[in-house]
C-alpha cells in the first residue's frame, strides 16, 4: 500500500513536471501580450517596454520557467497580471463555483443517468428501453449553450423559478445560493447524464449476461434482488471511472455553461486568462487542473479497489 502510494506519487511528479514544461512552452508560443490588455488602446511603445520589464516578461523563457517552478515549489503560484492578486486566491474563488457546479451536475447525472440506465437495461429491448435510450442520445446531441439559453428563458425569465445567472458564494448567502447552480448544472448534466445512462445500460447488460448472474437467478432470488446484489455493483465498476473523469473534466470544461450563466468558474477564468494572456493564472489553473485530474485518477483506482476485491494496486 505504502510503496504503491510512493510509486504513484513518483509518476505523478514526473507527469506534473512534463505538464508544467508543456504549459509553459505552450503559453509562450501564443502571440499577444498581457501588456496590451492591461494598458489598452493608447499605450506607447516605451510604456509597454517599461511594464514588460517590470513584470519580468522580457527575461529568457527558460529563466522565467525556472523562476516560476521555484516559486511553485514554495507553494506560490505567483500574482495575476490582470487582477493584481495572488493566483492562488483567484483560483480558489473559481474553484468553489466549479467544484459545486460539478458536484451538483454529477448528482443530477447520478440520479437521472444511473437509474434510468438501469431501467432501460432491465427493460432491455422493449419500447421503454428504446424510448429512453433514444431520448438519451438526443440529449447528448444538443449543444449545451442551446440548452442553457432555453433553460434561462423558460425557468428564469418566464417562470421565475430560478435565478437566471451568476452565483454568489455560499459563504456569503448560505446554501440557499445553491439555487443559482440549479439551471447551469441541469444544462451541464443533460449530455453527461445521457452518456452515463448509456454506459450504465451497456454495462448492466454486459454484466447481466455473466454466468454468476445466472447462478444468482438459479438460487431463486427475485429479479430485482438479482439486479441489486449481483448486477448493479459489478456494472458500477465501469461507471465509476466514467464518473471520476466526467467530474474532472467538468471542472475545466464547463466554459460554455459558465459563460452562458455568468458563473465565476475555473473554465471561464482560464479561457479569459488565455484571451488576455494572464500567464500566471493560466499556468496556475492548468497546474491545478492536472493535479485534480491525477487525484481523480487515484480516487478512481482506490474506489476500484473498494468495489472489486480482485484489483490489486500495482
Amino acid at each position: 500500500m505504502w510503496s504503491y502510494a510512493l510509486k504513484r506519487a513518483g509518476t505523478t511528479a514526473v507527469t506534473l513536471l512534463a505538464a508544467s514544461v508543456i504549459i509553459f512552452a505552450f503559453i509562450h508560443i501564443v502571440p499577444g501580450d498581457p501588456i496590451y490588455v492591461l494598458l489598452g488602446d493608447t499605450a506607447t511603445p516605451d510604456q509597454i517596454d517599461a511594464l514588460r520589464h517590470q513584470l519580468g516578461l522580457d527575461q529568457p523563457i527558460i529563466l522565467q520557467y525556472l523562476n516560476w517552478t521555484g516559486h511553485v515549489l514554495e507553494g506560490d503560484l505567483g500574482r495575476s497580471i490582470f487582477f493584481q492578486a495572488p493566483v492562488l486566491s483567484v483560483i480558489a474563488d473559481g474553484a468553489e463555483t466549479s467544484t459545486l457546479l460539478a458536484t451538483m451536475t454529477m448528482i443530477w447525472v447520478a440520479v437521472i443517468g444511473v437509474p434510468i440506465g438501469m431501467i432501460a437495461a432491465v427493460r432491455h429491448g422493449t419500447w421503454l428501453d428504446q424510448g429512453l435510450s433514444g431520448a438519451a442520445m438526443l440529449m447528448a446531441s444538443i449543444p449545451t449553450f442551446w440548452v442553457g439559453l432555453y433553460l434561462i428563458l423558460i425557468f428564469a425569465a418566464w417562470l421565475g423559478w430560478f435565478p437566471s445567472s451568476g452565483y454568489p458564494s455560499i459563504f456569503e448567502g448560505g446554501v440557499v445560493n445553491l439555487r443559482y447552480l440549479v439551471l447551469p448544472s441541469l444544462a451541464l448534466a443533460a449530455p453527461n447524464a445521457a452518456l452515463i445512462l448509456r454506459l450504465t445500460r451497456a454495462s448492466m447488460l454486459d454484466v447481466s449476461r455473466e454466468d454468476y448472474v445466472r447462478t444468482a437467478r438459479a438460487k431463486g432470488i427475485r429479479p430485482w434482488q438479482v439486479v441489486r446484489r449481483h448486477i448493479w455493483r459489478n456494472a458500477l465498476l465501469a461507471v465509476v471511472s466514467a464518473f471520476g473523469f466526467t467530474f474532472a473534466a467538468l471542472l475545466s470544461e464547463a466554459v460554455v455553461t459558465e459563460t452562458v450563466f455568468a458563473l465565476p468558474g475555473i473554465g471561464r477564468l482560464v479561457v479569459q486568462s488565455i484571451l488576455r494572456r494572464d500567464y500566471p493564472v493560466i499556468q496556475g489553473v492548468i497546474l491545478v487542473i492536472v493535479v485534480v485530474y491525477l487525484l481523480v485518477n487515484l480516487i478512481v483506482d482506490l474506489s476500484y479497489r473498494l468495489l472489486d476485491p480482485r484489483v490489486e494496486l500495482q
Binding site: 500500500m1 504503491y4 490489486e312 494496486l313
Partner: protein
C-alpha cells in the same frame, strides 16, 4: 528411442512475474525440464492444468524467452540465434494450438492462414505455386480445397482444427509441437483429428511433441511420455509402461483418476487425490509431497531429481520408489 535426436532441450527454466495480493511473485512455470525428440518420434507430455506444458511448447517455438537452458535443433542452439538461421528453424519447428477457434484470425481466409508461414518466409515463388500448395495441404488434412476462400466462422470445430494442422505443415516442418490439439473437440471429431495426425506422422515422418492432459489420447498417438508436475518432469518412459505400470505416485493418481468409460470399473470414492498447491507458494522439497500418500520426511526438504529406473529408458523423480 530411435534415430537421430533432432530436438534437444536441456534444463529449461522459465519464470513469469505475477502479482497476487499486492505482492510480486515469480512463478516458476518450467523448472529445469530436459527433453529430447528423435526423428519421427512422438513424445507425449501429460500433466494437470497449469503444470507448464504449454509453456514448454511456447518456449521451444520462441514465444517465450527461457530464463536459462538450451534448446538445440539438429545440434544448433536456437536461443539467441541470428535472425536468418532462426527463421529457417522457425519454419521447421511449428506449433498447433489447443483452441481451434482462437488460433485462426477471424478476418483472414483459411487459405491465407494456411499459407502464412510460407508468406512470411517468402517460400512461395509464385501465386500459382502458392494456391497449389494451399490446395494440396488442405486436401492432405481432409478438407476440400474450396475452403481456401472461406472464413473461420463458416467452419465447424473439427474443420477449424484441421486448418490449424494444415497451417503447421505448410511448408513441411521437421517438428510439430501440438498443444492439446484435440482437447477442445468432441470424441467423434477428436478421433478424426487424431487419425489425421497419426497419418501425417507416418507420411511426413514428422517428429511431434504432443501435449495433452488426456492419457487416453496420449496412449493413442505417442510412443513415449513425459509426466509433468509443477514445472518438472517427474516420470518419463514408454507410453505403455507408464499407462500400465505407473511408478511415480503422481502418475499413479493421474492414471487412476481418469474416468474409465466402463461402468463396471467405478473408482469414485476409492481414491483420494488431495488439493493441488498454488504455484505462488511452492513447497520446499518435492512439489507433490503434500498430496503424496507415500511421502517421507525427506520429501519435504529434498527436491528429487530424475533418475533411471528399470528398462525402457524410464526415468523418475521420486525418493520413495
Amino acid at each position: 528411442m530411435s534415430g537421430d535426436v533432432i530436438l534437444d532441450v536441456r534444463e529449461m527454466m522459465v519464470s513469469f512475474s505475477a502479482r497476487r495480493a499486492g505482492r510480486k511473485y515469480r512463478v516458476q512455470a518450467v523448472d529445469g525440464v530436459s527433453l529430447s525428440l528423435a526423428q519421427g518420434e512422438v513424445l507425449g507430455i501429460v500433466g494437470e492444468s497449469g503444470c507448464g506444458k504449454t509453456t514448454v511448447g511456447r518456449t521451444i517455438v520462441g514465444l517465450v524467452q527461457p530464463g536459462s537452458g538450451t534448446i538445440k535443433f539438429k545440434g544448433t542452439e536456437m536461443i539467441g540465434a541470428g535472425s536468418s538461421s532462426l527463421r529457417a528453424m522457425r519454419l521447421n519447428v511449428r506449433m498447433v494450438f489447443q483452441d481451434p477457434n482462437a488460433s485462426l484470425n477471424p478476418r483472414r481466409t483459411i487459405g491465407d492462414s494456411v499459407a502464412e508461414a510460407g508468406d512470411i518466409s517468402g517460400f512461395f515463388k509464385s501465386r500459382a505455386e502458392r494456391s497449389a500448395a494451399i490446395a494440396a495441404t488442405l486436401t492432405g488434412v481432409g478438407l476440400n480445397p474450396s475452403f481456401a476462400t472461406r472464413y473461420p466462422y463458416e467452419l465447424s470445430g473439427g474443420q477449424r482444427q484441421r486448418v490449424g494442422i494444415a497451417r503447421a505443415i505448410l511448408p513441411t516442418p521437421s517438428i510439430v509441437i501440438a498443444d492439446e490439439p484435440v482437447s477442445a473437440l468432441d470424441v467423434s471429431v477428436q478421433a478424426q483429428v487424431l487419425n489425421l495426425m497419426m497419418d501425417l506422422r507416418d507420411q511426413l515422418r514428422l517428429s511431434m511433441l504432443f501435449i495433452s492432459h488426456d492419457l487416453g489420447v496420449i496412449g493413442q498417438i505417442s510412443s513415449r511420455v513425459a509426466v509433468m508436475y509443477m514445472g518438472r518432469v517427474v516420470e518419463q518412459a514408454g507410453t505403455r509402461t507408464v499407462l500400465e505400470h505407473p511408478l511415480h505416485p503422481y502418475t499413479r493418481a493421474l492414471v487412476a483418476a481418469i474416468p474409465k468409460p466402463d461402468p463396471s470399473k467405478r473408482i469414485l470414492g476409492a481414491i483420494e487425490t488431495g488439493e493441488p498447491p498454488s504455484l505462488f507458494t511452492r513447497p520446499h522439497g518435492c512439489a507433490y509431497a503434500p498430496r503424496c500418500p507415500i511421502a517421507s520426511d525427506r520429501c519435504l526438504v529434498d527436491v528429487p531429481t530424475l533418475r533411471s529406473v528399470g528398462t525402457d529408458g524410464r526415468t523418475i523423480a521420486c525418493h520413495n520408489v
